[in-house]
């Protein structure tokens, strides 16, 4: 292992992380909900009566956020995504993420941020599992095949 200093961005990562934590904090304290993206989205497929509006307003906020980012952030801070996966990989990955987050009851936000913040043993196990699977997958893709 060696550190990739050219891409290492501790300050923006920490600031972004604090923002994610604040959003999760406000969501549980003001709205009484766990901020878990996969669960919020899946609850709309299809939505049960009376359980849709909070999901929709949250999702609208999430979806307009790139527009707001473009309006307020200096150009060098705008995301500049590097996507190495081809379309087939993207489709397989999407299916795995969709299926897996439902079967495993959460993703990086619900288990990784909220669950670990709550010291939930279930979320600790889930986070260990998805991180381990991520490490192995990237190892195989980058260093084996």
């Amino acid at each position: 292992m060696s550190i990739d200093w050219t891409h290492f961005t501790p300050w923006s990562a920490l600031a972004g992380g604090v923002l994610l934590g604040l959003a999760s904090a406000l969501f549980i304290l003001l709205n009484g909900r766990i901020l878990g993206i996969s669960g919020i989205l899946a609850g709309l497929l299809p939505a049960k009566a009376g359980d849709a509006s909070w999901r929709i307003t949250f999702m609208l906020g999430l979806i307009v956020s790139p527009l707001i980012m473009r309006a307020i952030a200096p150009a060098e801070m705008l995301p500049n995504p590097r996507i190495a996966a081809n379309m087939t990989m993207v489709i397989v990955a999407g299916l795995l993420v969709g299926w897996g987050t439902r079967y495993g009851s959460g993703c990086t936000s619900g288990h990784g941020v909220c669950g670990l913040s709550r010291l939930s043993p279930r979320s600790m196990v889930a986070t260990a599992m998805f991180m381990a699977a991520g490490f192995v997958t990237v190892f195989v893709l980058k260093h084996v095949v």
Binding site: D4, L62, R82, I83
Partner: protein, 139 residues
Amino acid sequence: MQRISEFVVGVMFGLGLMLSGMTDPGKVIGFLDLFGEWDPSLMFVMGGAIAVGFFAFAVAHKRTTNFFGGALHLPTAQQIDRPLMIGSLMFGAGWGLAGFCPGPALVSMAAGQDKAVVFVIAMVAGMIMEEFVERKMRR
């Protein structure tokens, strides 16, 4: 008020994802590439988020209502079972394969990236398939 805060929280979360680098699959894969050139940034994302979240949930666990007086929905499941583990392994494999998890994928879709649009469609299909299979199995 509830509606406004839900919307604002959605915006904040999206901004946090973009600022932190989570919407860059290359950065996510750089973090997951433990045995190559490793980018530890995502540790700082998790650390920053949990440092704030820890106190908020400590408060939440002592309450029975949210600050607006409405219901507080905290998870009740305790069991560490096979679905939790297998589902999380599947999710992690998909996360490593493309570098997208659900939140950043939705934000990148909204930003107009074609691969993120395809990813989200596949993800929603995966969610619907899982729900369908689980319903069949329960019967």
